[in-house]
């Protein structure tokens, strides 16, 4: 054990050196001090912070430009020695002191103005405040309200959907899955599933795994090989489980080969190079590019096209969609990919959640329409509407 520890010690990296803070303050002649200093608890925080606010010094701005910094000082007692805590630039009127040691204990603050020459003013009035930790973030009401509304939609529609048959519009890319696998089988070529460079923690990758489940079921039925090179090891393990399950459901658990779902590398272009190589050598008849893709999207899609495969792509990266559209046969655009799990399973509960999404979309459309009307009326300077409009925008700007 000791040998191991010594060994680990030897191969440990030497620590980084830390920069030294060397702020200094000097004193000679004095500008006017800031006034109306108020210290109070910083709202919506974890505690340990007091916000100090003040009115600017008479020598700040208005052409004088004398003052260019405000220095904030803190003390534990009203009379006691005030220690420097921080500095902000001219025209600023607040400072958050994050160095408060104890919550619910009073601290005293003063602020001094400082000129370009480094001359500080007399201290301002003294103000005291306590810091507190909050249990609810009041700046996040907007999230809570919208979140609750949307969640209600989902839950409500999922409830209502039970036992019913719901409609879902055609998504061409998903209808083509069977054809693609079938054609690949006819040609005697394997199917390649590329999950992109997303991690299992990315929602789009989870959506891709649902599509993989469907693809694997088809390959199991047609007895075609499905190859899947991976970027994230965890996606690989999850994919192995998914494919194994699909093969079991298709009644062919024995034809499942774990080695066909393997790890490649976690380097973006290393992954692209490796997948390109696999495309050229395995010559798949169908390629699924589903998940999160960045610049490698077009490298993969063009190489896939050059080996003559049918390609069905899908991603939530808006910047890469144009390249998939131009190089692939079918492309699932953004939300279409997330809808795949409902589309493919036709499970009433899943369909219910699609309805929930649509209802939320309707809400957004209504909000935009109302906002437009208010915005136009506000633009005509009708006071009331102008107010409503700015309130609406601010509401969405929170957080």
């Amino acid at each position: 054990m000791n040998i191991l520890l010594v060994f680990l010690f030897l191969i440990q990296q030497t620590p980084d050196s830390l920069p030294v803070d060397t702020a200094q303050v000097t004193e000679i002649v004095r500008p006017a001090p800031p006034t109306n200093v108020i210290a109070k608890d910083t709202p919506n925080d974890a505690g340990g912070s007091i916000s100090v606010e003040w009115d600017i010094s008479a020598d700040d701005g208005k052409g004088l430009k004398n003052v260019n910094l405000y220095n904030v000082y803190k003390s534990k007692t009203e009379e006691g020695k005030f220690d420097y805590v921080g500095t902000v630039g001219a025209a600023r009127t607040s400072y958050d002191d994050q160095s408060v040691e104890k919550d619910n204990k009073g601290y005293y603050y003063i602020v001094k103005a400082q000129t370009k020459e480094g001359v500080e003013s007399e201290p301002s009035n003294i103000s005291s405040g306590k810091s507190q930790a909050q249990w609810f973030h009041h700046g996040r009401w907007a999230y809570l309200i919208l979140g609750v509304i949307f969640t209600l939609f989902f839950v409500l529609y999922i409830r209502m959907a039970k036992g019913k048959k719901l409609f879902i519009r055609k998504i061409a890319g998903l209808d083509a899955v069977e054809d693609a696998v079938g054609r690949s089988t006819e040609m005697g070529r394997p199917v390649l599933f590329v999950p992109g460079i997303g991690l299992l923690s990315d929602i789009a990758t989870i959506a891709a795994l649902t599509i993989l489940g469907k693809v694997a079921k088809k390959t199991a039925e047609y007895e075609t090989r499905v190859i899947m090179p991976n970027y994230d090891p965890l996606v690989m393990s999850a994919a192995q489980e998914v494919v194994k399950q699909s093969y079991t459901e298709a009644g062919r658990p024995d034809s499942f080969n774990e080695k066909d779902i393997f790890y490649l590398t976690q380097d973006q272009f290393g992954y692209a190079a490796g997948v390109d190589g696999i495309m050229l050598r395995e010559k798949p008849g169908a390629i699924f590019l589903q998940g999160i893709f960045y610049a490698e999207a077009l490298i993969l899609a063009e190489t896939g096209h050059s080996v003559g495969a049918i390609q069905i792509a899908g991603t939530d990266r808006v910047t890469q969609l144009p390249f998939f559209i131009s190089a692939c046969d079918y492309t699932l655009i953004g939300e279409e990919m997330f809808a795949a799990s409902s589309y493919l399973s036709r499970d009433p509960i899943m369909m219910g959640s699609i309805k929930g999404e649509d209802a939320s979309k309707l809400v957004l459309i209504i909000v935009i329409m109302v906002g437009t009307v208010l915005g136009i009326l506000g633009g005509l300077h009708l006071g009331l509407f102008e107010n409503w409009f700015s309130n609406l925008i601010n509401w969405f700007a929170r957080g």
């Binding site: 440990q12 030497t14 925080d45 989870i206 192995q240 489980e241 131009s326 190089a327």
Partner: protein, 231 residues
């Protein structure tokens, strides 16, 4: 068992992380920090799976003498060498072993560690070259796809054409004599800022709703495909 335990874990942690977002209290912030750290720690062990899988696949190729099996040695050897250099010699900062070599043998490692030398001269150039293949592929994709087959294809083709033209100096010479607001560069800017932005926003809102719905389905255990089968 095999499904219930994982599903309840996903549910519990999903709900906790949602609630955490609304609580600014110190305890909650501390917890969040520890959760992030925990996720990184769990992530360390992914690499056991990764390396095992890679070795298995390539050992299989070598054993069965599959076509191109010789290259599997390239992968395995370069993996072993790089990992040795990095683990023994340090990743971003040199380890004590490297420091000792630098001191006693007057080694000069410009990049700090052996790993960074490999990174700078092997991984980066190859990555940059793969990346630059896009210059070729974007041309071949444009040639093949931008054909006026249908109305939507025409829209795709035309905007791409106009924007590309607007990006080169020669393009702006065409509209040189026209009034200011129909100068090519201004048209391009307008396309980017309005119709382009509008569609992007619409797509993004859809994606957002899809992501939120899927997250909720994962937390509630409705979306469970990623766990595989069994009970």
């Amino acid at each position: 068992m095999r499904r219930k335990i994982p599903l309840s874990i996903a549910f519990i942690f999903g709900i906790i992380m949602i609630i955490q977002f609304f609580i600014p209290h110190r305890i909650s912030v501390e917890f969040y920090r520890n959760m992030l750290n925990a996720l990184v720690i769990v992530g360390i062990f992914y690499y056991i799976l990764a390396v095992t899988s890679l070795i298995r696949v390539h050992r299989g190729k070598i054993k069965r003498r599959k076509p191109g099996w010789g290259y599997s040695y390239v992968t395995l050897i370069s993996l072993a060498v790089t990992a040795m250099v990095g683990v023994l010699g340090g990743a971003y900062q040199p380890t004590r072993i490297t420091a000792w070599f630098i001191e006693h043998f007057h080694w000069q490692i410009e990049q700090g560690t052996g790993l960074m030398v490999i990174y700078t001269y092997i991984q980066i150039p190859m990555g940059a070259t793969m990346f630059s293949l896009l210059a070729f592929f974007i041309a071949s994709a444009a040639f093949r796809a931008f054909k006026a087959r249908s109305l939507t294809a025409v829209l795709l083709l035309l905007t791409a054409f106009v924007v590309m033209l607007g990006r080169v100096p020669i393009g702006s010479l065409i509209t040189r004599n026209l009034p200011d607001n129909i100068q090519l560069s201004n048209i391009v800017e307008w396309i980017l800022n309005f119709p382009n932005m509008a569609a992007q926003r619409g797509i993004l809102m859809g994606i957002g709703l899809g992501m939120i719905a899927t997250s909720l389905k994962i937390i509630l255990g409705i979306e469970r495909g990623y766990l595989g089968g069994g009970d």
